[in-house]
């Protein structure tokens, strides 16, 4: 019989201690941790991996980033211009396919050419809007040898 009451007493005691904790939060409003997002924007730290950005003028078109990318999110076409320098004509990063792992940023030999911006608000309505185009567009046709170094060997075999 006493065990019956003891069990009841423990139950009540443990429930009351539990409620004591929640009332501690319930009463004093200063314990709120949530931020009001549109008004209060959290500044991401400097190593934040947001949207990829390419400074196309200093890009040497070496396709190191396209090769290291585990999900082939970077499509890169380079054309050799008049003074034999490889110029990236098409440099598309498909943000819907990219997994933001950062392997390309580490693989890029040029200092500060391919890096992550602190932008994380780039939602779009259609998938092709998510493809960011950094390419130079068609170079003016010159007399020099135009050798198009396409980089799709890997993709055909997979698709």
């Amino acid at each position: 019989m006493t065990e019956y009451f003891k069990k009841m007493f423990n139950a009540i005691k443990s429930i009351l201690t539990g409620m004591g904790i929640t009332i501690k939060y319930g009463v004093n409003p200063k314990t709120e941790v949530t931020q009001q997002y549109p008004e209060v924007k959290r500044e991401p730290p400097d190593r934040f991996r947001g949207k990829l950005f390419v400074d196309i003028n200093i890009c040497t078109g070496c396709t190191a980033c396209a090769r290291i990318c585990p999900v082939d999110a970077i499509t890169l076409k380079t054309v050799r211009d008049e003074n034999k320098k490889l110029r990236p004509v098409v440099f598309d990063i498909d943000n819907a396919r990219c997994i933001y792992c950062g392997l390309c940023v580490e693989a890029c030999p040029v200092e500060h050419c391919l890096y992550f911006e602190k932008k994380y608000e780039f939602s779009a309505y259609t998938k092709d809007e998510l493809i960011s185009h950094f390419g130079l567009g068609e170079l003016k046709p010159q007399e020099g040898r135009v050798e198009e170094k396409k980089l799709e060997p890997k993709k055909e075999e997979v698709k």
Partner: protein, 372 residues
Amino acid sequence: MVNVDERFMEVSMGPQHPSTHGVLRLLVRTDGEVLTAARPYIGYLHRALEKIAERVTYPQFTPFTDRLDYLASMNCNLAYAMTVEKLLNIEIPRRAQIIRVIMAELNRISSHLIAFGSFSSDMGAFTPFLFGIREREFINDLFEMTCGSRLTYNYIRIGGVSKDLPEGFIDKAKEFLDYFPGKLKEYNELLSYNAIFIKRLANIAVITPEDALDYGVTGPNLRASGIKWDLRREEPYLIYNELDFDIPIGRGEMGTVGDAWDRYMMRIYEMEQSTKIVKQCLDMLAPGDYTAKVPKVLKPPAGEVYVRAENPRGELGFYLISDGSTKPYRLKIRAPSFANLSILPKLAKGVMIADLIAIIGSLDIILPEIDR
């Protein structure tokens, strides 16, 4: 006409169910509230990671290991990195080892916090889930400061870590470690020793030590059955042998040894131990380089290696066969939740539906690891 046994009702606790911790389908045969059988159906999240492993080079596979157990991706990176390092048998600098232990243990705390939170919301108490998430945000901020991402870190690489600790990391981590034990005590008062919680979990789904070994159950579930087995202590890797922390095992405080409450409490005790470990590691940190010299194009020698590490959910093992090329020939991922889930049909006989939810919560399975 299929002869349906009228007495039982086949309910499909389908892939979309509030408390199956992911896309798990349980075909449950119930007689009123009591279950007579529960058959798990998995494979809804199968992304063929092992097939991808044969198509990408060794360093390229690291981001995929984040997606194995996304709540503990640091530990998954660690296990994969250690497998390839075993193959290359290169020596990791001390500072990288210490950083790896810090990251792995912080990730263990954040994974256990999710396990604690989702388990309590399965039992009906929603508030502890949000308290758990609030604490986890501190750890997410620490990870974001070091590697830039809050969930899939891709931080521990073959040969060491990708970036050194940013300045300000150590005192921010210390601030969290002093703040956290007080919160743990609060969880215990709020939930662990709550009479209804204990009544719901004591003596439910008891796993005997023989069954645990027979079904390959590992991690907190194995230790809850009374077997003192933790890879960090039995097969020490990194610098775990220099650290002093004890391994909590199930003592059946609230019922028999190995019941659902013991499995739950293992994770609470382990969080305490992990804070102790991280504190010691922070003090041991000495300047040094954070990664070993690893060639850009990695061609490990041909061979077969099976390496395993202690993940928050159990033993994660990688069986790697390499044929000397830049891509693994075969990579078998031994997921802890795969084995932990295989014991569910045995436990689910004769329990009630509410207990089935308690069993799934106490086993703390996670589906991307099961389906790979």
